[in-house]
Amino acid sequence: MVSNWEHGVRQPNGLQLEKLAAIYRLSVDELVQGGNRHRPDFERLMFRDAGSRLGARGKYEIQRFLAFLDSYSGFLAALGEPPGLVRSPFSVVEGFTSREDVRRKAAEARNFFALGTGPVGDPAGLSDLYGITVYRVPSGQDLKETVSGAFLPHDRAGFAILLNGETTPGRQQFTLAHELGHALFQGDKLYVAYYGRREAAERFADAFAAEFLAPTPALRAAVEGFRLTKVRDAEVVVHLQRLFRVSYAMMLVRLRAAGLITGEDLERFRSVRPTHLAERLGYSLDPDESMRQSGHWDISRYPRRFLRLLRSAFHEGAITLSGAAAMTGLVHEDIEDFLADEPAPDVLGDYEYLDAVI
């Protein structure tokens, strides 16, 4: 088929053009008319360090994320809405990334979000409130060939975080906090969390995420609340993990770093099945906790601010169902389920106006 196109025997039809345009992340217009508008080449930047660590599915989802940010920025402009956060409120000065510095920065971030010292709760909601776009993708569970997350300072939409929604909730929480670390302190660059990356910026974001989600003083206070000096029982780890809404594995690391469990206990706790134990302790499990299955991803991938704007734009008549479907790439019926609160007019009526229109 491609050979026929190359030799001018046949030319691609509209659908084939759409598929080619999707592959090359160009508009059909750019593909047919040639030329390419100038914009930052986020795709090249995001894929630059991928190597073999990104499969076709991960690539496709990143491309879709970038395409979404482009159309989202156009949508914001059309509605007269400002972009999200465009500058980091803090910065990391070289030489200030010790454990103590990270702890201090996590405290600064918590102050910024007015969080106090308790559990973070919903970092996606926080990000949304402070103008950081969080877009979820179903990009697979094998982190050796996909990404867990990325941070992108988009030139028109503002700060944006891509989050792999097919990992466990604890992992997602950690990834989101990690990307928030980039956004709050290193917002001048794009970062992609490929498997095994250990650059200084990634190490900082990891340390920040751990301290941000489960601050050492809060963790110590919680253990004290159990009237313990050391955690010797996996049940307590599960209670703490649930309290701080982090993964069991991360809670173990945090407890060990805070000197609240011994190395021997750490090894023992690692052999525990945490979801099974949590269920026995009476916690209700999120269906996603035993890894989200690749299934139907509809409106849930989109950032909350975008969804709020989409609903209000629809109800104010600024956008139609078809327009919303075209912008999101979602099925008409999914958009209808999300947007339409009112049915259509209830009678066909007015047969007399036929002459006027037909």
């Binding site: 030319q11 039809n13 509209g14 659908l15 053009l17 759409e18 598929k19 999707a22 508009s27 059909v28 217009d29 750019e30 593909l31 047919v32 008319q33 508008r37 496709y60 879709r64 482009d70 159309s71 156009g74 949508f75 402009a77 059309a78 509605l79 139907h296 734009a313 008549g317 600024a318 956008i319 139609t320 169902l321 078809s322 327009g323 919303a324 479907a325 075209a326 912008m327 790439g329 979602l330 099925v331 008409h332 019926e333 999914d334 209808e336 339409a340 049915p343 259509a344 007019p345 209830d346 009678v347 066909l348 009526g349 007015d350 047969y351 106006y353 036929l354 006027a356 229109v357 037909i358």
Partner: protein, 212 residues
């Protein structure tokens, strides 16, 4: 038939006449054949592509297949699937040259801004508009934004809505009574049809104010 020229249908009339199980009415109202572009309905579709690249009827099919544990879901799924083997549908492909060029223009990233839209036009609407405006055909499209763009880029193109087709079918010398038309319309609404924009948005510049 509402127009002496051929009429090209967007997804909405196909979807809701089919869901209301009255697709034969659409065929009869349009004079024996329903023309639509492949972006709306592709009888030989490859389901291995990304869902966002499927024809719009196939996307609807997938939506209802996910709800196929209910009788309603199964019914909808079957009715939409049946369109692919319907002999009364004529699939129209974009022709090389002017049609493809116009399609590309309608799919351009700049189009929303040029026409004051908050969102781009979808593939099916762009294809319907590109083909119809080039060939001098009429169109059946319910979307307000598509009507606005069409009025600007091809003011001579005759535009109908799904609702107007039903009204036409129930008009003088029509093929169904007003009560039947109301019932079909009620069924469509039951399946999620929201009516054409002309009904309810009276302040739109091109709107025909009707009592609903």
């Amino acid at each position: 038939m509402p127009s002496s020229e051929p009429v090209l249908c967007d997804t909405t009339p196909l979807r809701y006449f089919a869901l209301a199980e009255r697709f034969e009415l659409l065929v009869r109202i349009l004079g024996g054949s329903v023309r639509t572009p492949r972006q709306v309905l592709d009888p030989i579709e490859d389901f291995a592509v990304s869902p966002s690249l499927l024809s719009e009827i196939s996307q609807s099919e997938q939506y209802w297949s996910r709800k196929a544990q209910t009788p309603r879901g199964v019914a909808a799924w079957n009715r939409l699937r049946a369109l692919k083997s319907c002999q009364d549908i004529e699939i129209c492909d974009l022709q090389q040259g002017e049609e493809l060029q116009r399609y590309a223009e309608l799919r351009s990233d700049d189009l929303p801004q040029e026409h004051g839209l908050a969102a781009p036009l979808g593939r099916s609407k762009s294809a319907v508009m590109a083909i119809a405006s080039t060939r001098g055909w009429g169109v059946v499209i319910d979307d307000r934004e598509a009507h606005m763009v069409l009025a600007a880029v091809s003011p001579g193109t005759k535009v109908f809505t799904t609702r107007e087709l039903l009204l036409h079918g129930a008009g003088p010398g029509g093929i169904l009574t007003k009560i039947e038309a109301e019932l079909v319309y009620a069924d469509m609404r039951e399946w999620g049809y929201r009516g054409a924009f002309r009904c309810g948005i009276a302040d739109h510049p091109g709107a025909l104010v009707v009592s609903c």
